[in-house]
C-alpha cells in the first residue's frame, strides 16, 4: 500500500482545540496536584508539591498560574463553542451522547475481551460460545470513545463549576457559605481523578496501542486511510460512501 486512499477525519480547528486542550489539561493536572500539600492527602508524596512550588516561586504563584491557565483554557473553549457550535460542537455532542445500547454494549464487552485476551485467545475461548470475532460496526466514534467523551465532558463541567466556586471564595463568599468552598475542593479532586483515569485510557488507546495508530496520526494530519475507517468506523465510512 504505497499511497492508500485517505479520507478527512479532523478539521484544522478540531486539531487545534484537541492539542490546546491536551496542553491545558496536562498543565492543570500537574499544577493542581502540586496545590495539594498535606501529609494526609499528598497524592504523589511531599516532594512533589515542594518541587513544583520551587519552580513557580511559591504556592501563591502556583495557584495564580493554575487559575490563569484555567481561565485561558475556558475562554478559548467559549470562543470555540460559539464559533463552531453548528459546525463542530453540535455534531460532536450529538454523536458522543447517542449510544445504541444493544450494539454498543456488545461492542464494549467484545472489545475489552479482545484487548485483554488477544485475538488468538479470544478465538480459542470465545468462539465456541458462538462469537465470530467481529465487533459490531461503529460510527464516527466507537462506543468506548463516546463513553470516555461523556465522562470527560461531565468531569470538565464539574471541574469548571467547583473551580469557579474556589476562585470566587476570596471575593464573593461570606464566612457562612464556605462549606460550599470546602466541598468544592473535595469534588474538584474527585472529578480530576476520574477524568485523569479516563484520559489515561484515551492516551493509551490513541497514542500507544497499535490498532488506533492511524487515528493518532490523523490528530496531526487530519486524515485517516480509508481502510482504517472501513474497519474501525464502518458506519461512518458507509455514510461517507453514500454521499
Amino acid at each position: 500500500m504505497s499511497s492508500p486512499k485517505m479520507i478527512q477525519r479532523h478539521t484544522r480547528a478540531g486539531i487545534f482545540i484537541h492539542w490546546f486542550n491536551a496542553a491545558c489539561w496536562f498543565f492543570l493536572l500537574f499544577t493542581g496536584l502540586a496545590l495539594i500539600q498535606n501529609p494526609e492527602l499528598n497524592p504523589l508524596g511531599a516532594w512533589y508539591p515542594k518541587a513544583v512550588r520551587a519552580v513557580f516561586g511559591g504556592g501563591a504563584n502556583l495557584l495564580v498560574a493554575h487559575w490563569l491557565v484555567a481561565l485561558i483554557w475556558l475562554a478559548v473553549w467559549v470562543v470555540y463553542l460559539f464559533w463552531g457550535m453548528s459546525r463542530f460542537v453540535a455534531p460532536f455532542l450529538n454523536s458522543t451522547f447517542s449510544l445504541e445500547p444493544n450494539r454498543d454494549i456488545q461492542w464494549m464487552i467484545k472489545k475489552n475481551l479482545q484487548m485483554t485476551l488477544g485475538y488468538k485467545m479470544m478465538a480459542k475461548l470465545v468462539k465456541p460460545l458462538g462469537y465470530d470475532g467481529h465487533l459490531p460496526p461503529q460510527e464516527y466514534y466507537n462506543a468506548g470513545q463516546k463513553l470516555a467523551a461523556q465522562g470527560i465532558i461531565m468531569g470538565a463541567l464539574v471541574l469548571i463549576g467547583t473551580g469557579f466556586i474556589m476562585l470566587f471564595s476570596k471575593y464573593f463568599f461570606s464566612a457562612a457559605d464556605t462549606w460550599l468552598v470546602q466541598w468544592s475542593m473535595t469534588v474538584h479532586f474527585i472529578a480530576a481523578g476520574v477524568t485523569t483515569a479516563l484520559l489515561m485510557v484515551h492516551i493509551y488507546m490513541a497514542a500507544i496501542s497499535k490498532e488506533e495508530r492511524p487515528a493518532f496520526i490523523s490528530m496531526f494530519t487530519g486524515t485517516v486511510p480509508a481502510e482504517y475507517a472501513k474497519h474501525h468506523h464502518q458506519l461512518w465510512y458507509e455514510e461517507l460512501e453514500e454521499k
Binding site: G59, Q182, T186, S209
Partner: protein
Amino acid sequence: MAKQLGMVVDAGLCIDCKGCMAACKVANEVPGDNWRNWIKSGDMDWQAKKRGRMVFQPGNCMQCDKPTCVSACPTGATYKSKADGVVVIDRGLCIGCGQCIKACPYGARFRNEKLKVADKCDFCSSRRAVGLEPACVSTCPTKARAFGDLNDPASPAGKLMAQSKDKATQVVNAQSNTDPNIYYLGDAGLKSWPVKAQMPGAFEFWKNLADPAVKVVVGLTGLGVLAMLGKQLMLKNDAPPPEEHGEEGGHE
C-alpha cells in the same frame, strides 16, 4: 532546642482592661467584628467563704506544636514555621475555605471580613520584623504577658519558663491536646472553654473516602494500561481475524 516563640501569661496580673485587644486590632488592621486575641473570664464564685476573686485569662493563637488547623488545610497555606514555631498563613495561597477555622479548638481563627482569607495572631510578624514585641505585650499595663523563645532562658518568656517549669500550665481540651505554646502561671482561670478539635466534613470525606478511592481508580487504570502495553510488546504477532472482505492487515 529549636526556637519556639510563645507566651507565658500571669493571669493573676490581668485586670481585663482590653488594652491588648485594642492594640492588636490597630497594629494588625483587624477589621470589623474580628479579633485576634481575647480575655476570657469565668464566673465569680459567690458561694466561696473567702473573698470572691475573678481571674481574667488573656489569650490568642497558641502556635500549637500539633496544630489541628494545619492538618485541616489541604494546600499547606497555613503551616508551622520551622524558623520560629509560629503558625502562619500564606494569604496568597489561602482561598478562605475556612476548614482551619473549624479545626481550631480555641476559636483563634476567623475569616478576615475584608480579605476573606483565614486570619489569626502571628505574634505581630510585622512588628517583630522591626525588632518590636507583639503589640499586646508592649501595651499591657500590668505586664501580664511575657513573650519570647520559650526554649531560650535569655528571653522574657523563656526566663519564666525556666524558673517555673512545673507551675506553668496549658489550657487544653483533653480530647484534642494540640500542645499549645501559651503557658499560664499560677491560676489560669477558666479552663473548660477550648472545644474538641473538629475536622470539617468535606475534609474528612476527602481524606477517608475520596483520596483512597481516586488513588485506587487511577492506580488500577494505570496498571491496566501498563498491562496492555506489556501484552502489546510481548504478543507482537497477535493478528486480528480475517475480514469478510478478504483484506487482511487492515488493522496494522
